[in-house]
Assembly symmetry: C2
Homo-oligomer: 432 residues x 2
């Protein structure tokens, strides 16, 4: 406000990959704008990365260099430690802890770190009167952390959903648009540099699961519980499933759903069918979308780039600007001591499911499958059987609402009929 | 943070319509949640409305009653004046000024007040070390003010667009979906209570124009300049236009566009054709959408309910919770003294236009129209002429990119051909 100090806010940046270099560029190129908006100059005191000699397209000569991120994080001339190294443990964790213990504010893009150690870091921040912000960790440039923590603070949040891994959505979109197999689309995404060093973080749903667990903590005031997220990757999805889904008016998305129920907290990050005409169904390519449902606000949808230099650096700078303006919010929107352990629901609410299975060319085969479903209490809404190829016929089934438990019973039963080949694909249908 | 005071934050609420009653309900029903999140209890000291005896579905007996909003705004037991009366002048302005002069923070849903007096009120707030927040004034429950002011503060904003009047979008959607005429859809919206007391505020684009002018101020650091918004209502849109647009892959929306150009600030709130497959084109019914484009973040889209008790009260409470948490941001994201006068661009950038005109059944009529367009330098991309009815034939023209000035020349020229009946409809096509 009017009595703002003119003392600059001094950053120490650890990690100078795409995002780190993007942050340095913004601080250098927009100095006047940032100062006018926040009331205080934003400066960089020191930086740190694995390799000092890499050309990052931006001059670092004005900044002190540190080889050790812990040293960087605790320098006297650093007010805010900006952690852009990544990794749930190791140097990122050590340096973040060191910064907080030294009373420095921390801005991080590290979803893995917070998904695994969010509670202890939030407690550490609070004990040291520091803030720990992580807008860039979830859905790139979309200001979802701020919206959920602050803008929607007058709501009881009822559900959070989202497509939060652009790489998975890119692969699924390319399978649909270009008729690529999963392997072909995966190879294309890899060639474009969209995949993490460990691709399973993307296609296994882990990265998106990390993000969902952070949103859950804010939404419901619970301690981060990533281990309780039901995870399933997109590797099981075939072009056949995508076509069948489209034919029925759905698209397949790696969808995160987090909901507080009477049975506990439900968190899943799995491939789902969503209506093709819904905002989530219409999301194509690498874009991210988060849907928040509050008891007052109804449904709010936020959409934007989920990754990349500019969008992620924008999110980091949003947090930095908050700190420069003196806006200090608790990590997950409540004091860490007030966050309660999240009791996992362990059971999913009833939902319709899409099933695809291969049926052998034997008399009565379809009847056997139908009988198994009936015995498990799963009723069939729609079924299609296609021509046999190599003695196998694809069968598509859409069930009425059923529980995951009943469906699992049916799936094990099918295994024993001797007429079903391979493992059936079962995807939840999420009506939005 | 950890050293939060436990002194309650005391509200004085002026205006107890749907939104005011909604705010009272949230404060009463969510007391524990709000206190846990913000670190301070939220209390209501006093309320004020035109009629004390109206049943508002919520008990007011715990609160002092004031007949005069100015008295309410300056009470010693009021920390935050919540202005939900509406109106650009009169009591809303008097009470807001009185509150700010007394150093009270103000939360308002009043777009008209800020569109007309935003600069002086921002200066007044600053001079008195008070904050003036207005999340509820733009796009209902969508946290767009916070996202633009804070979350995207590291960006140079390049364009802001949006559908920000749910009533207009409802009317246009019903015309398309149910084949209603404008008058029928208007009457339906009226019957549902969607229209303001002065319907021209909605269908004339004024309400949405107010909102756009506030977003422009934040986006570009300019003083609010509502008078420079190019305004055109939806009354000129016919079912025929909607069908023709649909046939070409577009939908008609009352679209706000704000852009800082080399020629100055461009602000328009006019019916436009947008691609039917774009997020804005897919927006149906009373929902609002705001699209922000920043140089770093790229395109961010926010969508949600633009009106109604819950969504608007949610936005009011977002501001109240910010104040309770000690988050204090300048009104338009910069100190008021740093906001520069917005130089209106006065000319629009070249764009394709959709034209509909009625051509009389005379030989060479179409040639005359084509000649007039050619002389004005407007080239035709597509043209369709339909069968004559009552000696008049509808002609639809989509132009190549042209300036609004060239188009105006052509339209006046047409008037003089003697073969065009009535006033041609000209709608900009906005490619997103």
């Amino acid at each position: 406000m009017s009595d703002k100090t003119s003392k600059p806010l001094r950053l120490g940046i650890a990690g100078l990959g795409t995002v780190g270099a993007g942050v340095v560029k913004i601080v250098r190129q927009k100095a006047a704008l940032l100062e006018e908006r926040s009331g205080s100059a934003i400066a960089i005191s020191a930086v740190c990365a694995r390799n000092r000699d890499t050309d990052r397209g931006v001059s670092l000569k004005d900044y002190a260099w540190e080889d050790d991120p812990v040293k960087l994080a605790t320098r006297n001339d650093v007010d805010v430690f900006v952690e852009l190294m990544g990794g749930s443990d190791g140097p990122a964790k050590a340096a973040t802890e060191a910064a907080l213990k030294a009373g420095k504010d921390v801005v991080t893009a590290n979803k893995a770190l917070l998904a695994h150690h969010g509670q202890e870091l939030a407690e550490l921040a609070e004990a040291n009167d520091a803030v720990l912000r992580f807008e860039a960790a979830v859905a790139g440039g979309i200001p979802i952390i701020k919206s959920l923590t602050e803008g929607l603070a007058g709501n009881d949040i009822e559900r959070v959903m989202g497509v939060m891994n652009g790489t998975c959505n890119y692969i699924l979109t390319r399978m649909e648009d270009a008729g690529l197999t999963y392997d072909e689309a995966f190879a294309e995404a890899d060639g474009l540099g969209y995949l993490e060093a460990d691709p399973n973080l993307d296609v296994g749903g882990i990265d998106a699961g990390h993000k969902l667990s952070l949103l859950s903590a804010i939404a419901y005031g619970t301690q981060v519980n990533f281990d309780a997220v039901e995870l399933e990757g997109i590797g099981c999805v075939t072009i056949e499933d995508i076509r069948q889904a489209a034919d029925m008016g759905y698209r397949i998305k790696l969808l995160g759903v987090s909901r507080m129920t009477g049975r506990g907290l439900e968190q899943s990050m799995t491939p789902c069918l969503v209506p093709a005409t819904s905002p989530l169904g219409q999301l194509v390519g690498g874009t991210n979308m988060v849907v928040v449902e509050g008891d007052q606000v109804g449904q709010v949808v936020l959409r934007g780039a989920g990754a990349g230099e500019g969008p992620t650096a924008s999110a980091v700078m949003g947090d930095v600007m908050d700190i420069a303006r003196g806006l200090r919010v608790t990590t997950f929107g409540k004091p860490a001591s007030k966050l309660v352990p999240a009791q996992p629901a362990n059971t999913n609410p009833p939902a319709p499911y899409y099933l695809r299975l291969s049926l052998s060319d034997k008399p009565g085969a379809l009847a056997k499958v139908a009988a198994v479903l009936g015995e498990a209490g799963v009723s069939i809404h729609r079924m299609r059987q296609y021509d046999h190829e190599n003695d196998m016929a694809p069968v598509l089934i859409v069930t009425h609402k059923t529980t995951r438990a009943a469906l699992s019973d049916a799936l094990s039963g099918m295994d024993q009929t001797g007429v079903v080949s391979g493992t059936p694909v079962a995807l939840r249908i999420e009506e939005l």
